[in-house]
């Protein structure tokens, strides 16, 4: 089957999300793989949002630059996305909105209108939505005009609802019915998806199914033309799940033994904590289990409460985004100094300052690596896809406890709010490692020394409350007991003890946990990246391989401590080193240069708040391989 790119768009609050969820799930029921990206404004109701879903018969982990079928809830969606629709693609649009004067759409900001005017002049377009649609038709696009209000009226009549206005939220299901009808997909699978998503609200499920049927029928009777894109269903024995990055992290934390999670609401991190809270009672092999989620008054309290919980012996974590992490920095320094095993899940978003609160960015690598006054050890991990989010979220606790240090798990909005189909995760790949824990101290070993100097730098750790153990922690420099000490020789030994742990991390962590290598091991062309560009890069690699280009791709996963020798070795034989990242500076490229002395020859960067697509990175890499690219290419695709 050829991939299908379906996009639903509309004002926030109109149900774009649930439409996409139903769409993704329905496709999953038909044995298809889905990758879906969610884009939304920092707004509750009214501003434009969309969900771009890519459906395939094989696993996909990135978006492309085009749309095969656009389901527009409103005129704005058509205007914003019409140029992404492929020539033989389709647009589902409200019949009654075709007369809308596009420049009068109130939610367009002035800078967008200016661009729009230029576009209209250039294309010689008239002022109404109809002019846009007619122009698209000329290029071969199928326009499906649907009378939304009329179908809602029919739905209302069927449901015995008098006020149609209460049903406007069901436009999303109508467009689903029309979409699936056009794509010739099994209606029963869609109905099952609706039932599953509204399993706790059977009445709502029934209402939606009625609306869906009305839309399917309308489509069948009205649109007889042949649409070249269709969805097929496949039988599969494989157990699959469809989940977002936020959910994957939450699941990974549960697997990892997280028992206390603190947070302060922030986009795009809060969904993870809410999901955990909704599932706070856990099924475990040892009986009762729980993850206690505490919403604190700010991120300062979030990190420090998590540290407190960790000192008491619970696996503890907090989740945040850039602005929240900024507030956590002093607490991070304390955790480093006091050797606290605390996990910080850091969802990057467009920054600096409030930046692009609901958009994407990857510009906090340096910050995560260097945040905090003074020198202390930490581990910085970065997941590259939703599945890695799951395993890394679990393993982060092992690192934290084994080495008694804060672990920063970097993810980003593109993973947090995207959803993907995966073969069910294998929990048995993970084992709990808690490091050296003291449960009892013999009288001859008293007093217990929390920060005992050892060969490895790791002092066996007792939880607060351990019988007959009294221990001290101090943010001040301290002696082995934990009492304040300003003595120079003690200071030297303490700093060295703490920092030495990083050498142990470097030594003990298998390289497979630090990097992923894909593609051609012998290639002279090497792509270097981290985080969510992974999916697009992998796909571009395949496409380029098909065209005879050889490429290797190294995805850095443990960014601190960075496996410098590994990179230095790789770089020795590489001729073209291409750094791909969603930031302005090429932060990973810079870090690698510092550690290996080798500067990547090429940078492919993007910082417009939208993730890199397969299409974009394919072209950028091809330019480089064909010897036609400057040192620095900036990608700009996005809506």
């Amino acid at each position: 089957m050829k991939d299908i790119n379906w996009m639903a768009g509309g004002p926030q609050g109109a149900g774009v999300d649930s439409a996409a969820n139903i769409f993704g799930r329905a496709c999953g029921y038909g044995g298809l793989y889905v990758y879906g990206k969610r884009e939304y404004h920092s707004n509750i109701k009214g501003l434009h949002s969309y969900f771009h879903l890519r459906v395939s018969d094989h696993e996909v982990g990135a978006n492309v630059n085009h749309v095969d079928l656009l389901a527009a809830f409103d005129a704005e969606t058509v205007v914003r996305h019409i140029s992404e629709v492929v020539p033989d693609g389709g647009i589902i649009v409200d019949k009654e909105q075709t007369g809308t004067k596009v420049l009068d759409i109130p939610t367009f900001p002035p800078e967008f209108k200016e661009e729009l005017r230029k576009y209209m002049d250039q294309k010689g377009l008239g002022e109404t939505l109809n002019d846009f649609l007619e122009n698209a038709k000329k290029e071969g696009v199928h326009v499906f005009l649907v009378p939304y209000m009329e179908l809602l009226n029919q739905t209302a009549a069927k449901l015995g609802v008098e006020k149609v206005s209460t049903l406007t939220r069901m436009i999303n299901v109508l467009t689903l019915g029309i979409s699936f009808g056009i794509l010739k997909y099994d209606q029963s699978l869609v109905e099952n998806a609706i039932k599953a998503i509204f399993s706790e609200k059977p009445k709502i499920a029934d209402m939606n199914i009625i609306a869906l049927r009305i839309a399917y029928d309308y489509q069948n009777q009205t649109f007889k033309e042949d649409f070249p894109h269709t969805l097929q269903k496949f039988e599969t024995e494989e157990e699959r799940i469809f989940l977002s990055g936020n959910q994957a992290v939450a699941l990974g934390k549960v697997l990892g033994g997280c028992r206390v999670q603190t947070y302060y609401p922030i986009t795009p991190a809060a969904d993870e904590s809410e999901y955990l809270e909704a599932h706070e009672i856990l099924k475990t092999k040892s009986g009762d289990g729980s993850v206690l989620v505490v919403q604190t008054e700010d991120e300062i309290a979030a990190i420090n409460s998590a540290s407190g919980a960790a000192l008491a012996g619970a696996r503890a974590s907090t989740s945040t985004s850039g602005p929240g992490f900024s507030l956590m920095v002093e607490g991070l320094s304390w955790a480093g100094n006091c050797e606290v095993p605390v996990v910080i899940t850091y969802y990057q978003r467009g920054a600096p300052a409030t930046g692009l609160p609901t958009r994407f960015g990857q510009a906090d690598l340096r910050f995560a690596m260097h945040a905090g006054h003074g020198e202390f050890p930490r581990i910085v991990l970065a997941s590259g896809d939703i599945q890695e989010c799951f395993y890394d979220a679990a393993i982060a606790f092992n690192y934290a406890e084994r080495y008694q240090l804060p672990v920063i798990h970097l993810i980003d909005k593109a993973m947090a709010n995207s959803s993907q189909t995966y073969k069910i995760f294998d929990a048995s790949k993970f084992k709990v490692q808690r490091g050296e824990i003291v449960t009892e101290v013999k009288p001859e070993d008293q007093p217990y020394r929390r920060f005992r100097f050892t060969e490895s730098g790791i002092s066996p750790r007792a939880f607060l409350g351990t019988k007959d153990v009294v221990q001290w922690y101090a943010g001040d420099e301290h002696n082995e007991i934990g009492h304040i000490s300003e003595e120079p020789f003690n200071r030297d030994k303490m700093i060295e003890k703490r920092m030495k742990k990083l050498e142990l991390v470097a030594k003990e962590t298998p390289i497979e946990e630090k990097v992923n290598f894909y593609g051609d091991k012998e290639s002279k062309n090497l792509v270097l990246s981290w985080g969510s560009p992974k999916g697009a890069i992998l796909e571009a690699l395949d496409m380029l391989k098909g065209e005879g280009f050889s490429l290797g791709f190294v995805q850095a996963r443990m960014l601190h401590p960075l496996p410098s020798d590994y990179f230095a070795n790789l770089f020795k034989t590489a001729e073209k080193i291409i750094d791909v990242e969603n930031n302005y500076l090429g932060q990973l490229g810079g870090v690698v240069k510092e550690e290996t002395g080798i500067d990547p020859n090429f940078y492919v960067l993007k910082y417009n708040g939208r993730p890199i697509t397969t299409t974009e990175v394919y072209h950028a890499l091809k330019n480089i391989l064909s010897g036609q690219a400057p040192k620095r290419q900036v990608l700009t695709y996005g809506s």
Partner: protein
Amino acid sequence: MALKMTDFRTDVFADWCPGCGDFGIMTALQMALPELNLQPHQVVMVSGIGCSGKEAHNVKVNGVHTLHGRTLPFATGIKVANPDLVVIAIGGDGDGLGIGAGHFVNTGRRNLPILYIIHNNGVYGLTKGQASPTLKLGLKTKAIPKPNINEAVNPIALALACGYTFVARSYAYDVKHLKEIIKQGVQHKGLAFIDCLQPCPTYNDINTKDWYAGEDRKDPATGKPQSRLYKLEETGFDPIVKDWSEEYKKKVAALDRAQEWGDRIPIGVFYKNELAPTFIDRIVNRIPFYRSNPPAKQKISDENGFSTADLKDFFDELRTS
């Protein structure tokens, strides 16, 4: 064997200035804990930054000497992870009512059963005597270049407004009184707050030991100083909410007493309400086994090292095939 006060001493040198109120508070803690039949390992003292923060090193219980203003978040994390621990948070007035004021307010909303003692001396001692949030407007203590330009916050009134269910005041030089108040605070079912007045002999030359003792206002008849401090309990003041119908009245009465300052300063318990559900009760409502199997004590791996978590229900919810 019953423990004694000396069992709660450490050999760490207490480096406060001679005459510092912290000595009194430290002593009162060392006296209260054995009387409460507590073992050192069962107690965690969480302290902030400033002279008082060091107290955690001088009392032989677990000590967590944290960051400036962040005692309550650390204490909260420790207590919710292991509610069996007795958690005592201590800090200065700047720590709790300046930089940490947000935590002071929001911890009140949770009624978490811990005790919080603010060492209230009106100045930032360790940074050499700047005005703290409890120094009254217009006062000029010796180290500040100009009279204090800010109004003072009223810790008792603030605690009442935020939901603390045990609100008391004591005086660092009345160790016996303070010890009793600490004991009540530890035993209180809910969040307890003690506003502990203390002189700073080095930087607060206004609210001195002599000032509290009333050396400047001797009784003309007897020639004896008339202390500015009086004990609420000696006036028949009843702070205890025995029924919800009394709550408003008791709170208003407490607020009324909280306004007193100057020549008559009340110490003792202003307000006590054990009817309010604690944060622990509220968690138990959601997680019924929380008390018997709290987060810090849960088994997270089996004998082979695999996670005890069973993800089946999660996967079922997310399954598409």
